[in-house]
Symmetry: T
Subunit: 73 residues, 12 copies
């Protein structure tokens, strides 16, 4: 939810999946960093699901599904 | 869900957040009115979440998250 | 949930969908008013889902799904 | 959800379980076909749960729970 | 839930609320016993919600919401 | 969710039920107005459930359950 | 949900976990009895989760999470 | 969820509703086929809801809501 | 789900994912057929999730997650 | 959840269905007692679902689905 | 869930939101550290929701909602 | 969900709880590392729940419940 002074805006929400070999936070950062190339004015996100792939008994990479809110300009 | 005679269409769904200082219905109307500037053929919506901000022990404004369905032309 | 003195009753629950062009509350009132013609002793309701139809970028009418509890006489 | 021109109606919803040895669709059709003998004006359904029974390592039959909406005449 | 010979039936489901001052099981039995006066061929139930009322820091009675399935004859 | 500049705070959440004979919004306002007498710094709310009581086939009053967030000072 | 004549009150909800070696009902009673020492005017509860601990292949005790509603005086 | 070697991509998700008079699978195929005209690189889907319309006691058509994931190129 | 004569058994549940290029039902049959090689006495299943992979704008195969119950002999 | 000093263990979870003609607690005890013949080191359980069968308007037996956690030795 | 030897206690649960610019774990630690100034005997927590704010295409801070259990002394 | 070329396999799913004093990721790694001693061919996981224990106002360790999928060879 955006800040109080944003009350006149309408927001649109978008679901993204980001990945990282390192951590859950890095997967989130990767998704948002990549999406910011085409979507300006992203304001907040919510983690919808945390998953990952396993290889040889180890986590190969994390995959995090995010719901992102941005201003409909 | 759209009407029976629309059976040949494919619909796309979109999540929006609208706000209003007045009522839940006005927040819904604001989101749909704003989105209608760029999305034609919106057909139905579903309320996903109703929230709001509080200032000085009063509701400052309502924020309603909608899932909106529209025809994929 | 009904009042404390109703503890000996068994209740039955029923799902209804009501509509209104005006408001969510009016859609609830319409569903309950219509059902009261055949079901006596309705005691409480719970909102299960709030939806609506859109025409020309405006809410055409609200549709509210209710779960209604009534005494099994 | 029924079509736009049905806005003045109140709908009632009913949960049914239908079965078929053949397919999920046939279980749905069986439930609706059987219920149509006593309930007129069924308008839409939603699949609530899909289950089945197993015999000798094979699906013996599918059992589908439906929520059906019909006009409260 | 196991069983196979019932595959040709269509079942209808009904939500009931039963009460008891004594126990959750007694509230279930009360709801089913009362409903059996008008509904024959009830076959199974599922507990949907367990609630109760409190008086003077003690449970006054339990209220259990059941979903009951019965044969559509 | 509070505004961006509040990132150093810790928030506590509280569930309230408010009532009104008039509307869902009034039930929300009543709960927040009453709670503001003892809890300062309430910032946002989320509607958890909307219910009501019925008398003589009419809505007697609405009851709305809110989750309210406030700053832990 | 409280009785109809309580419509002017605002309720607060509280989550408790109670335990008992004997039964689910006793775990509920223990939680409510203990909480009643500091919270007056508890009106209703709802079971949120039923769990327990196992020792030597037997249930050692039940643990029930309750949501309790009480009048905000 | 896409295959292991796709770990560097960011995916976007989209909700679609497809219809078919024949089967659930055909409704899924119709939605994906139609969306593939404008969205390249769709990789996986998940069924969110299965519904349908009824006419004269028969299923008129199935309507399936899908969540589709595709590569953000 | 109906049935009575199985009341003395204890059941164990297992989650499986089956695939098919053809249909949802075939994916269910494949999972159960494969599991029946090592697990005897499977009795019933429930569909937990229906997903699939897409290639060139077409469904490549369906993947269905099942919860299967079998007798603990 | 197990006790604090168990932090080095990895736990496995298992879903069981137990039955009893007498009570919900007895159905839980039956499932755990039966499973303890082959699984040592069960530590805790959670009730997932409570169901039952009905005969002649009475509860014939309760069926409780449990999620059980045990140490992976 | 607390350890086995805690069976005689009654626990109260509390929802908190903590923030951190660094990581999800730091947001959890901040919420618990801040709450421990007024609440003694916190025993366990559960993550209810993970969210965050975005500025200039980067995560500005994480916000984690926790449910915390503590002994009712 | 596994990669496209795995379409002929049947997968089994397993729920595990892993712990770590350090981080959520380390708790996930511990569960998967420990399980890989007896289960070969684990392919993917999904986080079901994140919990933890608190001592002296600090997180003592994280406990993460995972759903793990592996090939049924």
């Amino acid at each position: 939810m955006p800040a109080t002074h944003d009350k006149d805006h309408v927001y649109k929400m978008l679901d993204l999946v980001g990945s990282s070999e390192k951590s859950i936070e890095a997967a989130i950062e990767n998704a948002i960093g990549r999406a910011s190339k085409t979507i300006r004015e992203m304001k907040w996100f919510e983690v919808v699901q945390t998953r990952g792939h396993i290889e040889d008994g180890k986590v190969r990479h994390y995959q995090v599904t995010l719901r992102v809110g941005f201003t409909l300009e």
